[in-house]
Symmetry: C2
Subunit: 456 residues, 2 copies
Amino acid sequence: MRNIIDELTSALGPAKIAVDPATLAAYAVDQAPVLDYQLPQAVVRAESVADVQATVRACAARGVALVARGAGTGVSGGAHASEGCVVLSLERMNRILDLNPDDETAVVEPGVINADLNAAAADHGLMYAPDPASFKMSTIGGNVATNAGGLRCAKYGVTRDSVLALDVVLADGTLIHTGHQTFKGVAGYDLTGLFVGSEGTLGIVVGVTVRLKYLPREVHTIAAFYPDFRSAAAGVLAVGKARVQPAIMELLDGGSLAQLDDIHGSDLAARGASLLLIQTDGFGAAAEAAAIRPVLAAGGAVVTMEANAEAEQLVELRRNSRGTEVDDEYRVGEDVAVPRSRLVDYVAELEAIAAEHRVQLKVVAHAGDGNLHPTFWIDRVDNAVDADAMARLGAALDKSIAVALAMGGTITGEHGIGQYKLRWLGLEQKEPVRELQRRIKELFDPAGILNPGKAI
Amino acid sequence: MRNIIDELTSALGPAKIAVDPATLAAYAVDQAPVLDYQLPQAVVRAESVADVQATVRACAARGVALVARGAGTGVSGGAHASEGCVVLSLERMNRILDLNPDDETAVVEPGVINADLNAAAADHGLMYAPDPASFKMSTIGGNVATNAGGLRCAKYGVTRDSVLALDVVLADGTLIHTGHQTFKGVAGYDLTGLFVGSEGTLGIVVGVTVRLKYLPREVHTIAAFYPDFRSAAAGVLAVGKARVQPAIMELLDGGSLAQLDDIHGSDLAARGASLLLIQTDGFGAAAEAAAIRPVLAAGGAVVTMEANAEAEQLVELRRNSRGTEVDDEYRVGEDVAVPRSRLVDYVAELEAIAAEHRVQLKVVAHAGDGNLHPTFWIDRVDNAVDADAMARLGAALDKSIAVALAMGGTITGEHGIGQYKLRWLGLEQKEPVRELQRRIKELFDPAGILNPGKAI
């Protein structure tokens, strides 16, 4: 039998196979901390469903692990290379195959960039709702693999809620179609939902049918600056009690504001110690904003209505609040979610954890969903840190997870388990549930070649 | 080994076990046409999770089929008794265990009536969004089993979109918990979604955590009467093109209006040959209604804004449009969905099919979702019909399904496959997809005791 590289080169042609060290290194990791660095044997850049099927079959025949990826913007290590694997990039499968403005649906290849789909939909007064912060770079296929969330999920739902149907290449190379082209459909088991969020461990998504929503004609943006973080978190609950559903409700602590000012030259930290950024949209946007403002003011906020240019800039700053750094073992962004009523308690706990373990902390949150992204880090001196600092960082992370779970939360609201969060999964899910998932994995991928060691 | 009835009586106490003929007959069927009438051996009325576990274990030990049911309002035969089965009624497990107005979630037992949960939620300005026409009788557990839809799905989603977590008793009696208490959560595979809509074939749902939405403070209702059914269907597309999202968009043909007038003494048929009934809700309700009205008028409708009392009555009439009759082999209500752009074409096809096969037809539709409920029937003379009429009815049904599929539709938008629609499932789903589902069933229920012969 030929080796895997020869076989792939023969089947797909040399232009789609890369084995040079620079490419292998570029495709070895996504944006998550790395626990087990591995270089792939080869990178396949598929251009068609047939390319994907040929790649899967070649790997299956040789028992070679196959790690599918989109743009590699994930932050849980779902696309990190496994030992001896082939990485299958779907970036070149980037065509919008159909966009039907009357059906309010689109059919796309997995490599279509989220923002590109939105731009095409906007021409028809439509939008693809899920908007992870990475939406200008990340692919729909990657969004599907992680069941990505984003800023406007509280009102419009997560990726799962916008996916109607999938084309999937199974571990033996078979192509199947799941789901329905219609908004509703309940024939048989929900295989579509099973593939969404499965991080390429059950099959390779090669086509996605999505439902589009109406692009709101009117958007109002409220910036509420608070004297402290906990009051801002309380503002989230107050808006909920007023029973108004914003499209976006983002919470930023003082550390996040200071960092944004550093990078962008803004003056956010001068305006308050914490920011609650709210957007309402649609026909009720003005009335909703009017209902929200007094509620926030009553909670101690300095409330401004932002003109469109400033508002867009603020939301843009929020989307970029991860900064330019990529996480590593010294700087870890978390992704817990807690029931909304526990937001204020959890924020207080985070501050206490950072103080107790003497680690740095900044927090942003998709607050409408109770989904928090605390980033813990330790300072590096000449790129070196001591073992004690590393231990303190690890302890702070573990504590932040344990506290979220004790409050009825989850260890991952939208980033996925990937490789990095596997260590905590057993704290959230009991053995019978984990065993069921292992057996589902075995059913779909008996040889275990699809993205081994991830997700479950 | 004791027989199953003795075992259940011993384990649960005689008050929870019924074997009298009247009870067995009452629990033998749901509201669907019956293809294979069977009486259960016994009916268990569980009052606790432990009761369910004991029942499952007793059936598993003896290889006895177990058919779980809520209120029995399903219309696909998902709760029809199987040969020699025990029916497990969950009606007595009807407690709302928790309703947290700050988390905007509730935890309920499966036997809670949909309307009761809504009444409890309304006290806090909240609602449970999925509203099948049966919502005054049907249970949350039954809604979960069928992934029930309803009138306001186009805006608020189907049952799946409101379910966060489940407690499920597996086929061996093990109790598991799936999902998350938070709005978002992506840890592991989506087992929750797999159980939703699985019609009791993968496990018995004994607890449901749901997300609640905000009860709209303002609702506007528009009645648009059209001179013919196709123009009314075109009105649905026109509202979509205007990019306005109503909460409810229901379409009724002339036959449905005449039947409602017969039963309720209303004067709907005198007002037009077809009715498009639209509700907008929330802060933008008035503006949305104002945007919709001229769009409908331009399409030939006589448009009225309905005062609240009349509007509620109209929506109520629509909810009761199935009439008082239960479907049987002479009168079959369908549940196809088509891509929205095909609504007008499909409505035209339905009228042609009824004429060609000389069968009666009336149609209502959750038009915003492209989900249609045509009812085909043949007249009975002295309760007798001839074989030719039966053949014509069958041919009309088959044709209506084939045409929907050819348009990219599905054979069931919200009712489920149950027993009745199994004959058409192979037309919609190809063999590899069906085989995957069989293997999932085998994984969860290797002995095949859970609601055999349904759903897949």
